[in-house]
């Protein structure tokens, strides 16, 4: 998803992984117990992304 944004001439200025699980904590604890450690990356995590469309001047901080 992030890569798709980047391909559209969007300058991604911030990606914030909240690490607040989508599921209730007790369910995540359960998953961590039953899922092998090398598969924990398969859990779903929320992110918040800020990107900016190029303004064509080369100064992407200008708004």
């Amino acid at each position: 998803m992030v890569e798709a944004a980047a391909q559209k001439n969007m300058r991604i200025t911030h990606i914030f992984e909240t690490h607040v699980p989508v599921f209730p904590p007790e369910f995540v604890d359960f998953l961590r117990r039953v899922v092998p450690a090398d598969r924990h990356d398969e859990l779903v995590w929320p992110v918040v992304v800020l990107a900016r469309k190029s303004n064509g001047t080369g100064d992407d901080h200008a708004g």
Binding site: M1, A4, N9, V22, V48, A51, K53, G63
Partner: protein, 198 residues
């Protein structure tokens, strides 16, 4: 067999129509203002000032406005606005000289959003029916595009970003909250419509 886009949309409409009708029923995702404040860091006071009809069906996964609020007079497009918690927070920021275009594909959400705009006295919020992959917004109209927990539901994610890019003015911002996995999703899971809507 690949998931059929229209069938997926219909399943999503069913789920979120039910969220509007009965937001506290208990779903596989969190809902409501308490979750938004306690888990996602939304400002409690700002949510308390919004109608319950706006905040109760909230089912986002983060706070896209935490990256910066729109400025007075700006035009904001909310992709998959739902009942409109982010929409109405943005409306408060842009004020009557600004505009918030709330796009959603679910009639129940559109009805709720329009009622809330009337109830809250914010005629600068306009709900429009449409898809994330085909936004009913003109080119370059938006200073800010926001979205919360919607792009993961779209089959054509590249198409969503293409549309967001199209409607943004040069220098405009895209602020999204969504969910990701760090591994590729197995083909069998990609083809399971129950997992898409879960």
């Amino acid at each position: 067999m690949p998931v059929d886009a229209e069938r997926l949309r219909e399943e999503i409409r069913k789920v979120y129509s039910e969220v509007v009708r009965d937001p506290k029923r208990g779903y596989h995702f969190h809902t409501g203002p308490e979750y938004a404040v306690e888990r996602l860091g939304y400002p409690a006071q700002a949510l308390a000032e919004l109608p319950g009809s706006v905040t109760a069906p909230f089912a986002g996964v983060g706070n896209p406005l935490a990256m910066g609020e729109p400025r007075p007079g700006e035009t904001v497009v909310d992709i998959g606005a739902g009942s409109g918690m982010d929409t109405f927070l943005a409306a408060r920021s842009v004020g009557p000289t600004g505009r918030v275009i709330a796009v959603d594909m679910t009639d129940a959400m559109l009805d709720r959003g329009r009622e809330s705009a009337a109830l809250s006295g914010t005629p600068w919020v306009e709900y429009r029916k449409g898809l994330a992959e085909a936004l009913p917004v003109s080119d370059g109209a938006a200073d800010l595009v926001i979205s919360n927990g919607v792009i993961n539901l779209a089959l054509d994610k590249d198409g969503v970003f293409r549309e967001a890019f199209r409607v943004l003015r040069p220098g405009g911002r895209l602020q999204i909250a969504d969910i990701v996995v760090h591994h590729d999703i197995p083909p069998a899971a990609r083809e399971d419509i129950a997992i898409w809507t879960a």
